[in-house]
Symmetry: C2
Subunit: 212 residues, 2 copies
Amino acid sequence: MASMTPARTSPPTDVPQLGLRERKKIKTRTAIRDATYALIEEQGYDATTIEQIADRAEVSPSTVFRYFPTKEDIVLTDEHDALILEELKARPKDEPWTESVRHIMHKAVRLGHDREPEITRIRAHLMVQVPTVRARMMESMSVASHMLAEGIAERTGRDVDSLEVRVYTMSVVAGLAEISRYWAENDFQDDLADLLDRALDVLANGLTTKNS
Amino acid sequence: MASMTPARTSPPTDVPQLGLRERKKIKTRTAIRDATYALIEEQGYDATTIEQIADRAEVSPSTVFRYFPTKEDIVLTDEHDALILEELKARPKDEPWTESVRHIMHKAVRLGHDREPEITRIRAHLMVQVPTVRARMMESMSVASHMLAEGIAERTGRDVDSLEVRVYTMSVVAGLAEISRYWAENDFQDDLADLLDRALDVLANGLTTKNS
DNA sequence: CCTATTTTGACAGCTACTCTCATTTCATGG
DNA sequence: CCATGAAATGAGAGTAGCTGTCAAAATAGG
């Protein structure tokens, strides 16, 4: 074969680093996720079995479990959390943590809305309907809580493992998680960013009694 | 077994109303729970199967599932929640809700400590170790949150279903749940009542920054 | 004691999930 | 270009939680 590109010796530097293996892995991963979301939209979560997912993704059931430890993880796992942590660490240290949280959460909301709006919605929907998914979600909240704790501990001069920091961060994260649920239960009518601001306000200032 | 009243001919009027059927049901229920806790102490949670539980409780596996929908429920389900809700409703309406919560939670802690201290500990322990149990616990928190929401909505003159109330109650309940976890992770060294007060303080006043 | 209702046990079945092992696919150095 | 080693995959068997059905046993009421 007359190869047009003699530049075989110097591979392009912008898409390299990833061998065929890595690329296939990414492909398989997204294939499984896409298949899952498609099937869920067609039949619902419970009616969708791993076998069906495997069939549509054209892999074996074994492979599905090799990529995702549980069925819930196929739906929930993403890379956002890591990104958000980076963002938090990037905020100026002297910024009040409430502002930091507001910034990164707004960014997260925008990210979800721009890149995969449909997925964001399905996820929130599943969180309302399917108990196991909600449970798994709360579990990951717990992890998020610990990440947030580091930032808050720094800024308030407390120990990360102190009861106070743990209680506070957990309450914040759980409060924020309630937003998605509220959003989904009200048929996605509200603007997520607005809900976020209202929730952060409550978490920062408490519930002001309307009369007294 | 019945170390109570020997009055065979005239059944006591304080424990009546319950036919043989109801009494057997209660017996079976507690038998299953006791068997479960015993087996868990011996072998751990995961190693304990429904079949083993059924054997020790001297019932069939079917019956176990008839009494408890999931394995986690055997460990977690109790009647406290209902009692706590009663207590909350019994508090004076003009009392600040933080005080109401403090009262009923203290009562709950005392109840757990007095009546079944071992169980309280095992439960907290399982909550730390077994993800599925923790998940199920959070789920019941969500229910508790909704109960609390009614009380808070009343006292703050807001709608029970408003975002504000939901976010706030969820954050409070989640924060309180973190107490158990902290307690168990620190080998039950602290006094639960103290932890409760500290947590409630944080939830009411926020995290006071130590320097500013 | 007899009948109606409830409770139970035995059984079959589904599915998420684990583990093992042989086969295939990719990477690499000669 | 090929041979060798490593990694990914597929196939299969097995476990356990959970659901549903149906007949047998226990209980309530007359």
